[in-house]
C-alpha cells in the first residue's frame, strides 16, 4: 500500500510537462551519445552538470539519469550496424549483433536489443522500488564507523571489479581522496592544499575535474588513434523479431535481466560489467550453444538486457547509501550536493518527491526509448556520419562553458586545463580515472566519518573492528583484495574482463 502511494507521489512529479520534457531530453541526448563512438554518458553528464544546476533537483536528476540509461540503448545501434561499440558496455553486442547485420538480420537484432532493454529496464526499476526502502532503513542506523568501513569496502570493490592494474587503481583512489579534501577544512577552518590560491578555498571544482578528464583529456587521447571509418551495413528491414526469435530469446533476456540487475548493484559494476557477465553466462548455459559468434540472436538479447538492467540498478547504492558505484553516479552525487542535498538514506524520507520522481521517470524514460529507438533508427545512423574532427572541438568548447558557469569563475577553467594534462598522462600510463573520481566524491565524507568514529571511541582505532557491521565491511574488503591478489583468480578475472 505504501509502495502505491510512494509511486503516486513519484508519478505526480515525473508526469509534469516540464519533467517529461527533461526526461525526453535526457534519453534523446543519451541515445545520441550512445550511438556516437568517442563520446560517452560520463562525458555528456559532465558537460550537462552546469546546466542541471539551474533546474530544480528532481528535474536535474531525471535529465542526468536519462542520459545514462539512454546511452545503453544507443550503444547497441552502433554495435550492430557498424561493428564499433557506441558505448563500452555494448562491446560484446558487436560479436553477434554485427554478424546478424551482415546476414541481413539487422532489423531483428535492433528490435530484440530494444525490447530486451525495455523489459530489463522495467524489471530493474521495479527492483529499485522494492530493494531501496529496506536498504535505506538499514543504512539509517549506521554510525560513523560503519559508514567509514562501508566506504572502504565500496571503494575496494570498485577497484577489484574495474579493469586494469589493481595497485594503480588503489593509488588513483587515494589520490582522488586527497584531491577531494583540498580546500577549507570544515572543522578547523584551515585551508588545505590551496597553494596560496584564493579560489581554491572551496576545493577543486568537481565539474572542472571530471570534464578535464572525461572531456578534454579524452579528446586529446582519441585524436592519437586512427579514426575508424563508419561502415554502415546495408538495409535494416523489419525491426520486429519473429515469434521464433522471441521464443528463442526469452530465456536469454530473463537471465540477462537477473544477472545484470545483480551486477549493477555492485560498486564498480553498472552497465559494462553486466553486459560482459551476461554474454559469458549465455555462452555457458544456452542450448544449443554452437552458434554464438556467428550471429546468434541470444548473443544480442542477453548483454543488451543486462546492460540496461545494470544501468538502472547501479542507482541503488547511490540513492540509498550515498555511495557511487561508477563515475556517472559520482556525478549525480555531485549534482545533488550542489543543490545542497547530501545523498544518503535520508533522501528517501526527507525528499520523497526526488527519490520516487526519479524512479517513476525511469519507467517513462524506458518507454520513450523504445519509441525513439526503433522508428528513428535511420536518423541515428545518419548521426554516425558526423566525423570526429567536428565533434571534438565542440566537446572542448562546451567543457569550457561548463567549467566557467558552475561558479562564474575563470579560475575553474584553468583548473580544468591543468587536470586535462594530468588526465592525459593517466590515460597514457594506464591509470584508470574512474577510481579517482569515486575517491574524489567520497574524500570529505570518509574523513568526516573517520573523525567522528575516532572521536566517539577516544582515538581507539579498534572501534572499526568492534562494531560488527563495520567489521563485516572491512572483512569483505580484505577478502576482495586477497581474491584479486591470488594468481589463479587474477587470471580468470583478466580473461573475463578481456573476452
Amino acid at each position: 500500500m505504501e509502495m502505491l502511494s510512494n509511486l503516486a507521489v513519484g508519478f505526480s512529479v515525473a508526469l509534469t510537462v516540464q519533467n517529461i520534457l527533461y526526461c525526453f531530453t535526457g534519453v534523446l541526448l543519451g541515445t545520441m551519445v550512445g550511438v556516437l563512438p568517442g563520446i560517452g554518458p560520463v562525458t555528456t553528464v559532465a558537460m550537462l552538470l552546469p546546466i542541471s544546476f539551474t533546474l530544480p533537483p528532481e528535474s536535474a536528476l531525471i535529465l542526468l539519469a536519462g542520459i545514462y540509461y539512454g546511452a545503453q540503448y544507443g550503444g547497441s545501434t552502433t554495435a550492430i550496424l557498424v561493428n564499433i561499440p557506441g558505448e563500452a558496455s555494448s562491446v560484446v553486442t558487436t560479436i553477434d549483433g554485427h554478424q546478424m547485420a551482415r546476414q541481413g538480420r539487422a532489423g531483428p537484432a535492433l528490435g530484440i536489443a530494444a525490447i530486451g532493454s525495455f523489459f530489463a529496464g522495467s524489471v530493474a526499476t521495479l527492483l529499485i522500488c522494492f530493494a531501496a526502502p529496506p536498504l535505506a532503513a538499514i543504512a539509517l542506523n549506521f554510525g560513523p564507523a560503519e559508514y567509514f568501513s562501508l566506504m572502504v569496502c565500496g571503494l575496494i570493490a570498485a577497484i577489484v571489479l574495474a579493469r586494469g592494474s589493481v595497485i594503480k587503481a588503489i593509488g588513483m583512489v587515494i589520490l582522488g581522496l586527497l584531491l577531494g579534501i583540498a580546500g577549507t577544512d570544515v572543522n578547523s577552518g584551515i585551508r588545505r592544499f590551496t597553494f596560496g590560491f584564493q579560489d581554491m578555498a572551496d576545493g577543486i571544482e568537481f565539474v572542472a575535474l571530471s570534464m578535464a578528464i572525461y572531456g578534454i583529456a579524452e579528446c586529446a587521447y582519441n585524436l592519437e588513434r586512427k579514426a575508424e571509418e563508419a561502415d554502415v551495413t546495408g538495409t535494416i528491414g523489419n525491426v520486429w523479431p519473429s515469434l521464433t526469435d522471441i521464443r528463442h530469446c526469452t530465456p536469454a533476456v530473463l537471465r540477462g535481466t537477473v544477472l545484470g540487475s545483480l551486477l549493477g548493484v555492485l560498486p564498480g559494476g553498472g552497465a559494462l560489467l553486466a553486459a560482459f557477465g551476461a554474454y559469458t553466462l549465455e555462452k555457458k548455459v544456452a542450448k544449443p550453444p554452437r552458434s554464438f559468434g556467428d550471429g546468434d540472436i541470444r548473443g544480442v538479447a542477453a548483454p543488451e538486457s543486462a546492460n540496461n538492467a545494470g544501468a538502472q540498478t547501479s542507482f541503488i547504492p547511490m540513492l540509498t547509501l550515498g555511495i557511487p558505484s561508477n563515475p556517472t553516479m559520482a556525478m549525480m552525487i555531485g549534482a545533488l550536493m550542489i543543490h545542497g542535498i547530501s545523498p544518503g538514506p535520508r533522501v528517501m524520507t526527507e525528499r520523497p518527491e526526488l527519490f520516487w520522481g526519479l524512479i517513476a521517470s525511469m519507467w517513462i524514460g524506458n518507454l520513450l526509448l523504445v519509441v525513439l529507438n526503433l522508428p528513428l533508427v535511420g536518423m541515428w545512423v545518419k548521426l554516425l556520419r558526423i566525423p570526429y574532427r567536428l565533434l571534438f572541438p565542440a566537446i572542448v568548447g562546451f567543457c569550457c562553458i561548463g567549467a566557467y558557469t558552475v561558479n562564474s569563475n575563470i579560475f575553474d577553467v584553468y583548473v580544468m586545463a591543468f587536470f586535462a594534462i594530468f588526465g592525459y598522462l593517466c590515460l597514457k600510463l594506464d591509470c584508470e580515472p574512474a577510481p579517482l573520481i569515486l575517491g574524489f566524491v567520497l574524500g570529505p565524507l570518509m574523513e568526516e566519518n573517520l573523525r567522528r568514529a575516532l572521536l566517539l571511541s577516544r582515538g581507539d582505532l579498534m572501534v572499526l573492528i568492534e562494531e560488527p557491521l563495520s567489521l563485516i565491511f572491512l572483512i569483505a574488503a580484505a577478502v576482495l583484495l586477497l581474491v584479486v591478489a591470488a594468481p589463479a583468480i587474477r587470471q580468470k578475472r583478466e580473461e573475463a574482463l578481456q573476452e
Binding site: K168, I190, I216, L390, L450, D460
Partner: protein
C-alpha cells in the same frame, strides 16, 4: 638498475610526486591525535599510503617486465590546452562569442585533418547555438559581447 616496466615505473613516480606534495603540505597543518583528528591527520595518512603504493610500483617495475609507455603526442594535447586557457583569458573581457570561436578554432587545429573553412563554420555554429541555448534559453550568466559595448 634497469626499468623493466616503464608504465608502472612512471605511474609510481607520479604517485610519489603527489604523495610528497601532500605530505609536505600536510606537515604545515596540525596533526592532532587519533581521538581529535587535526586538519593534517587524514592527508598525512593518505600521503603515506600513496607513497607506499608509489614505492611498490617503482620497485616492482625494476623486477617484473611490463608494457612500455606509448608515444606521448604533445601537439594535440598542448594545442587543446592552449585553447582552453585562451577561452579563460578572453571570456570576461571579450565575451562568449569571441572566446568560444577562439577555443573552437584552436582546438580544431589539433586534429590532423582539419579544414580551415569547415572549422570556421563549426565555430560560428557553436557560438550561435551556445548564445541561443545557454545565455538566452537557460539564462546562464555569461557575457555575450566585449564589455565595452
Amino acid at each position: 638498475m634497469h626499468i623493466r616496466a616503464p608504465k608502472d615505473f612512471w605511474s609510481g613516480i607520479m604517485f610519489l610526486a603527489f604523495a610528497a606534495t601532500a605530505m609536505i603540505a600536510a606537515h604545515g597543518y596540525s596533526l592532532g591525535s587519533a581521538g581529535k583528528m587535526g586538519p593534517g591527520y587524514f592527508p598525512m595518512m593518505l600521503g603515506g599510503a600513496l607513497a607506499l603504493i608509489g614505492i611498490i610500483l617503482v620497485a616492482r617495475s625494476l623486477v617484473l617486465t611490463g608494457e612500455t609507455v606509448g608515444r606521448i603526442h604533445v601537439a594535440p594535447l598542448a594545442i587543446i590546452t592552449v585553447g582552453v586557457v585562451l577561452f579563460g583569458v578572453m571570456l570576461e573581457p571579450l565575451g562568449l562569442v569571441a572566446a568560444l570561436i577562439a577555443v573552437t578554432l584552436v582546438a580544431a587545429y589539433a586534429g590532423r585533418e582539419s579544414h580551415p573553412l569547415e572549422a570556421a563554420v563549426l565555430a560560428a555554429a557553436l557560438a550561435a547555438f551556445s548564445v541561443g541555448v545557454f545565455v538566452i534559453a537557460l539564462r546562464l550568466p555569461l557575457p555575450i559581447w566585449p564589455s565595452i559595448f
